[in-house]
Symmetry: C2
Amino acid sequence: MEKMIITISREFGSGGRSIGKAVAEKLNIPYYDKELIKEVAEETGLSPEYIENVGEYAPGKSLLSFLPALTIHNKYPNNMSAADFLWCMQSKVILDLAAKGSCVIVGRCADYILKDDPHAVHVFVHASTEYKADRIVRLYGESEKRPEERLADKDKKRSVHYKHFTGREWGKCQNYHLSLDSGKIGIDKCVSMIVELAEQTNE
Amino acid sequence: MEKMIITISREFGSGGRSIGKAVAEKLNIPYYDKELIKEVAEETGLSPEYIENVGEYAPGKSLLSFLPALTIHNKYPNNMSAADFLWCMQSKVILDLAAKGSCVIVGRCADYILKDDPHAVHVFVHASTEYKADRIVRLYGESEKRPEERLADKDKKRSVHYKHFTGREWGKCQNYHLSLDSGKIGIDKCVSMIVELAEQTNE
């Protein structure tokens, strides 16, 4: 078997992360999510919380919460902002991980960063608002915000972050080899479709 | 087996039409393409050539070629233009066909027109420019225009037409249950993935 790299981009609540984990288990290859954040933290000295938030989301109104990271921006090369520095280092970590061997990477614009990797299969997972709203309430419980607002807010930030760093539209079919409506198709079937495709393209 | 409706939207040159035909054959259900145009022609009195062009593409610079259809617009209800009248009648024909029984419909914004049909599976087929350029030269031969220009021109018109009549972005993952890169995945595998999904969602 040749190397298999699978990137999974996903709408919040669509089950993309669960799908990614299950695909990695079935293919018996590493799944990078928290580990990726840990590696980026080690390379950059930034806090895992900062990386988790700013590495995938455009900052919202609570910019002040990122102040500790922003105030140290002048220590980065070429007077980069912390967010730009994070983008560079996160890209480097993703390229290094993909060079090392087969893996599944969820989120973090990995589809863009690995767009020229011939071993990569890029997947986008989405679902209807009803399906996602129901799923996040079941998984994460209720909160002050209505679930529809929580979904819209997270995805808006992902989309703005993606556009800013890649220049591309988030969720555009042409950026992915496969895109799946997990609500219509079902989580298990999504997993088997991705596994089959990854195995086929690496035969 | 319950009713199965499969709509296939596709980039020019991606093989979406061939995929649609093969899916219909495998499932042994009707495939609507030219037949749909014939039905719309009968319902509207518009010429099949006009329907083929204006029913899916935004008119380009050669607006004059559509003059015979445009000059008779005042015979349509509420002073509709011929293009708007065609949109209404084409939508009606598509809804009627889907109501009649299982089928595959390629193009003509059928994904939007049947977006609320619980039996429908909506698919988008795309591929890299290299793959599509190579494919159209192989299938349709060379022409004065470079194949890359022919691709861009056709898809631009499809995209503008789609946006105008549906208000949605053409080729956005969220509009389809499944989107496939036929170049990466291969035509045969695309066919079997769609067939499997249609069978599963109608079990």
